[in-house]
């Protein structure tokens, strides 16, 4: 009887060790995968990245020279996407969390947002082609590409903005309303100032995603090669992810340009990393400042 309980205890302990070890191994493996990808790109890409690489135009359809127009193009597209998606997303978040009564209608809106978040990016690309490029007649242009990217990152911005708004204590709203403030005065003076840092952070994370997407810009803006920088929002641009795709699949001497591919990947990775880092720094900065 006694030895039976003893052996059960030993078995439990063995299972405990096994389970803990397994779970730990799985979570470590994530770090290993990410680490390998980053390390591989850095090691193979770093030799190709120098001032010339990021400040000159590509030559011989990209098999020589730099990636300046692709960097500039991605910057424009991302900026355009922010300008469109941030106001739209933040306004929707304010409506959903501050104004709308929680009923059937808001459930439908939320369902739409979740669905939007789950739509494959190539579908956004086709949607952009149909609506902006053809129907609105914007052509393949920065405008079409930015709008397409904006709709793709809208759910991220709405969801994270709503979260930031919910983090503002209800007591601040009640206190303001009880003093005779209207809803808008309450939101504008006593909710938004404390929610904005969080809203921006979430938005920047969405922006990181927009910078790296290829499918949505494939039909709406991306150019194979352009000899000059864009001069208006109706111009096409090159973009880093698409340029990478071109280098990897569209050139006969793919082996020869391998360093350039890795260099481009590294620049893109750095760009996204900088965005995310900025978001984290901003968040920490404001989190320290606001205290309830």
């Amino acid at each position: 009887m006694k030895s039976k309980t003893k052996s059960r205890a030993a078995r439990n302990k063995a299972w405990e060790l096994l389970a803990a070890g397994l779970i730990r191994a799985v979570s470590y493996s994530i770090v290993v995968v990410i680490g390998y990808i980053v390390l591989d790109i850095v090691v193979k890409g770093l030799p190709a990245v120098n001032w010339d690489f990021i400040s000159t135009f590509p030559r011989k359809s990209g098999s020589e020279g730099g990636i300046l127009p692709a960097i500039v193009g991605t910057a424009y597209l991302v900026a355009g996407a922010i300008v469109v998606a941030m106001p739209l997303g933040m306004a929707s978040a304010v409506y959903l969390s501050e104004y709308a009564s929680q009923g059937r209608f808001t459930r439908i809106i939320r369902l739409a947002i979740i669905t939007l978040a789950g739509v494959p990016s190539i579908v956004f690309g086709l949607f952009g082609l149909g609506l902006f490029v053809i129907f609105f007649g914007f052509g393949a242009s920065i405008l079409s590409g930015s709008l397409t990217l904006a709709f793709m990152i809208l759910p991220t911005i709405i969801v994270s903005s709503e979260e930031a708004l919910r983090a503002v204590p209800q007591s601040l709203r009640e206190g303001s309303l009880a003093l005779g403030a209207t809803r808008w005065q309450t939101i504008y003076r006593n909710v938004l100032p404390y929610a904005l840092p969080g809203m921006f952070t979430g938005s920047i994370l969405g922006v990181g995603r927009a910078a790296g997407e290829t499918a949505p810009i494939l039909f709406t803006v991306a150019a194979f090669y352009l000899p000059r920088l864009p001069s208006s929002v109706f111009d096409q641009v090159m973009a880093l992810p698409y340029h990478l795709y071109v280098l990897a699949t569209q050139l006969p001497e793919a082996e020869k340009v391998l360093p350039l591919q890795y260099g481009t990947a590294l620049v893109l990775l750095l760009l996204v990393l900088i965005f995310n880092l900025a978001a984290i720094v901003l968040r920490n900065h404001f989190r320290k400042k606001v205290q309830w």
Partner: protein, 253 residues
């Protein structure tokens, strides 16, 4: 004691969706007196208090029947300006909720919203409100300090000052001292004693001794019903209702 009626409630039923929280409550609240609402948790006394400045409006799915009149005006009439009502009926909450702004900005928040712009006028409002809330001496040299750095008791008095700054007639207090230590509680209670000269005060409290100390009238709520309402000395010395007696003597609650 001859007093005038400030707030009149007529057969009020209140619902959160399907759940009824108040049952046929009628009450007359006297002007420039302190009226305490007591009762166990969940008895509806806070809900009842929040009827007077229509704070229940902001909770989805609430509705009521019956009437609430302030100075003979039905405050739930369609034509009523809720902003004007809330300016007239100030509120202090259970959990002190200073805004994460400076002390000064907390006090001027209300006046600014109601259109006061002049610096001199705002300065004067700040001093007067803080004095009335018995906080001026402690903070006059550091008005730009973030209000979150004040002690709990100071924060609650700041919230009172903030409510006074818009010059209300009526002050609603929802367990204003329940989160405070005994010393801060005593200060807030003294303050209520001062304020009753100029304001009609309705205070919700868990603490029976507090109700006995600060109020002129006391209403006892139980399970959404107003069980007994009378002068405080009557409630605490010879209550007519058995439930009231059991509650104030601590036999349940």
């Amino acid at each position: 004691m001859k007093t005038q009626t400030k707030i009149k409630v007529e057969s009020l039923d209140f619902y959160y969706g399907q759940t009824q929280a108040l049952f046929n409550v009628s009450m007359e609240i006297a002007e420039k007196q302190v009226t305490a609402l007591i009762g166990p948790s969940g008895c509806g006394k806070s809900t009842f208090l929040r009827m007077f400045n229509r704070m229940n409006d902001i909770i989805d799915g609430t509705w009521h029947t019956g009437r609430v009149l302030i100075e003979n005006m039905d405050i739930y009439n369609n034509g009523i300006d809720v902003v004007a009502l809330r300016k007239k009926v100030g509120m202090v909450f259970q959990k002190s909720n200073p805004f994460p702004k400076s002390i000064y900005d907390n006090v001027v928040y209300g006046p600014k919203i109601h259109g006061v712009r002049g610096k001199a006028e705002l300065d004067e409002i700040v001093e007067r409100s803080l004095r009335d809330a018995a906080l001026w001496e402690e903070v006059k040299d550091r008005l730009d300090l973030n209000a979150m750095q004040l002690s709990g008791g100071q924060q609650q008095r700041l919230c009172i000052a903030r409510a006074l700054a818009v010059e209300p007639d009526i002050l609603l207090m929802d367990e204003p001292a329940s989160a405070l230590d005994p010393k801060s509680t005593a200060r807030v209670e003294n303050l209520i004693g001062e304020l009753r000269r100029n304001y009609t005060i309705v205070i919700v409290t868990h603490n029976m001794q507090q109700a006995a100390r600060v109020s002129d009238f006391t209403g006892f709520f139980y399970e959404g019903r107003l069980v007994e309402f009378d002068a405080t000395e009557v409630i605490f010395t010879k209550p007519k209702n058995r439930q009231t007696e059991d509650y104030i003597t601590g036999r349940f609650g």
